[in-house]
Symmetry: C3
Subunit: 307 residues, 3 copies
């Protein structure tokens, strides 16, 4: 299998076999991760965040450093040349002369794909527009795989803002590689777009739309919950009326499967009760650890340090 | 003596014996500091600054890098996830999966202690609220030790804003481990709080409050001067009236002891005459060098690279 | 030739022989640049940007990291201590205790020179005021040398804002070491200052002022084009009237020499037609690669890793 020099823009850029190969490498790295790895000594990652994101940025940077590489970059556009009116295309054509790989976060939908077409060095999409966040999807899958032992055959509920959240879109497409039951739980105004649901069905996913957490709590093997942003509601009273139905509380867990796992892309606000943190269901912090590992595997493979 | 895995939140977390052991290691590192040290190769420090601070941040980062380690982090909260409403607790639970140690600067009093309770990895407090800045106190003590040869028996004047300045509070508690005469020189409105003075007296420090620099210039072995911020005065005319009494000028030094040393946590504004910079009394820039060394010692000890 | 410990504030700080020695080292590094270089292992560069600049900052940081060194710093003044009123002089006296070399970008004319007078460690000027940007001049010269094989005997057109642009000033002074024909193409309001032209003539440069690109397109061996900022024009209609004469289009290139090369310090806005990017004339992205190399050479020489 050959990853060297490839971009990673959408989760569907890689086949199921390729994704599982990345998992295999990640598992090897888990065993070694506290060692002093020198796999990427001398390599430079450019971390270009045109939108702030502590978690994803720090995760990529830590992954690169743990492999012995180094990092340059910026964490907000204001500091960058675009403040002087530079196009993304020009920024990429400059930075590719400084670095060996670029990790890009950008508010616009097609930004990462455009960058990949231009750049001579590989581009990893760290979130662009509302649809793509492939490394998040990869780490979500990996967390399920590691915590449940398998992905096929599971019932997975995606909860919260399914309209604008890019992590749920990427994850849904990632899950289409597997034989899963997908339950979609969102307020009417934040339901997953019809085109995406059609895509998923066409790809063979069993999809069911549900209207509250109560409907899924007894059957879900995995609950993947995301933030609902107040600003999405034109009418605030509508927000106040519905938010309770998409909030995961400790009480609700009385009815869940004993081996349920709960994931969250973080940051969370109120939708995920902090009293759940100490239960065995909570895997959302462990998930960030898996994120580090999966990004280490991806960087090592794309930069050709592991074949 | 065992430092491995320990937090450092308040200067009183460590005993006098422990502090002096850190000094011993620091002195060894001073001799080696220009060498290529690999003590922390493969380790990652997360530098989380929820309040900007060039000096302290760069000092910690340089200390980590000089020991062969690497650094991730952010230098202002705007860039961080808290902009999305994340709690400190959640940030810590994520970052501890990326790094081996966290250096935290936060505007709230109990922030560093809370972080230490939550985190599985060690936390070093780089300043929180008005009371705590233990690594500054450590470097202040170390500067005195290195420049005067001893701490016991000295007369030390703390000058400036003794009410809000966290460096003077941490230093005063640090000095309580030693047999010193403490002279407090502050405008009435910025005097050290009664509770703290009581604490110090109870800990055996000889404390005397003075009203101007003139009163202490002849007897002090060490003058530790800090900024007085105009904004602290409800009445600006009051500020204009008193500020001269807390300004250290070259002329005032005609009356000082020949081996007086002058320290300042920096940045300074007007309270410390730049004409003093070239006198042998000035140790405030040397102090930043000692700060680098003491932080190297601390990181090496807490991360278990030196026992 | 001895570079160890020297500052680099103005291009005229170094002789022609010294500049060509740097080129010689740069060419050696070009051959090695993808290897794992350890020339600066253990050294720290402080990157102090009091004015934002993605390109120059990332270029210096990548250069340092490629040589095995590490980087501390800040990328905008707001985060720095100057927000607390600290003088540049104090910042330098602190940072010199943390790092082995300082790269400084500052809005004020004399800032870098002042820093160099104060600091015990070497200072590299990464742009100060309207006159100085010596590493840009060095990389511009190096690009010409590498792409044309020589500098002597060439006809070089500087186009755009010749009044405020610091890159054109530094480059013009750099070219005064060589036997060149300099053509200056600027709107009346942005012509190069008389004093500078007089300086150049006195240094032996053949200078001619021209009023549009048409005048130079047939004779130029090198066109060095820069941004014209709308804000420089008190009267916007004047800007609209003249801007076309300083815009390099694909059509204009029908009349150029077959081996013309086009350089630009970037970022560009409209003055340089993107359709030119794919022609063999375009060297402005390659120029950023030469910039990385020349900064590697400079850092290695000044830090004494190469003699």
């Amino acid at each position: 299998m050959n990853f060297k020099g490839r971009d990673f823009i959408s989760i569907r850029d890689y086949t199921r076999e390729e994704i599982e190969y990345i998992f295999k490498i990640a598992m090897k790295l888990e065993a070694m991760s506290k060692n002093n790895l020198n796999l990427l000594r001398g390599k430079i990652l450019a971390s270009l965040f045109f939108e702030p994101s502590t978690r994803t940025r720090l995760s990529f940077e830590a992954a690169m450093l743990r492999l012995g590489g180094s990092v340059i970059g910026f964490s907000e556009p204001k500091v960058a040349s675009i403040a002087k009116g530079e196009t993304l295309s020009d920024t990429i054509k400059v930075v590719e002369n400084y670095a060996d790989i670029i990790v890009l976060r950008h508010p616009l939908e097609g930004a990462a794909r455009l960058a990949a077409e231009i750049a001579k060095i590989p581009i990893i999409n760290a979130g662009s527009g509302a649809l793509f966040h492939p490394t998040q999807a990869l780490l979500d899958l990996y967390t399920i795989k590691r915590e449940k032992g398998r992905i096929d055959g599971l019932t997975i509920a995606l909860v919260g803002d399914l309209k604008y959240g890019r992590t749920v879109h990427s994850l849904a497409y990632a899950l289409s590689y597997y034989d899963v039951n997908l339950l979609l739980v969102a307020p009417p105004i934040l339901r997953m777009r019809k085109e995406i649901i059609n895509d998923l069905v066409e790809l063979g996913v069993k999809v069911k739309e549900c209207s509250s957490l109560d409907e899924v709590i007894k059957v879900a093997d995995v609950i993947y919950i995301t933030r609902i942003q107040k600003e999405r509601f034109p009418d605030i009273s509508e927000y106040e009326r519905v938010k309770g139905s998409y909030k995961l509380t400790l009480e609700l867990l009385n009815e869940c499967k004993p081996d349920l796992i709960i994931l969250h892309p973080l940051p969370r606000v109120n939708e995920l009760d902090t009293r759940i943190d100490d239960t065995p269901f909570a895997k959302y912090f462990k998930q960030t650890w898996y994120g580090l590992i999966i990004r280490m595997a991806l960087l090592a493979l794309i930069l050709g340090a592991i074949a």
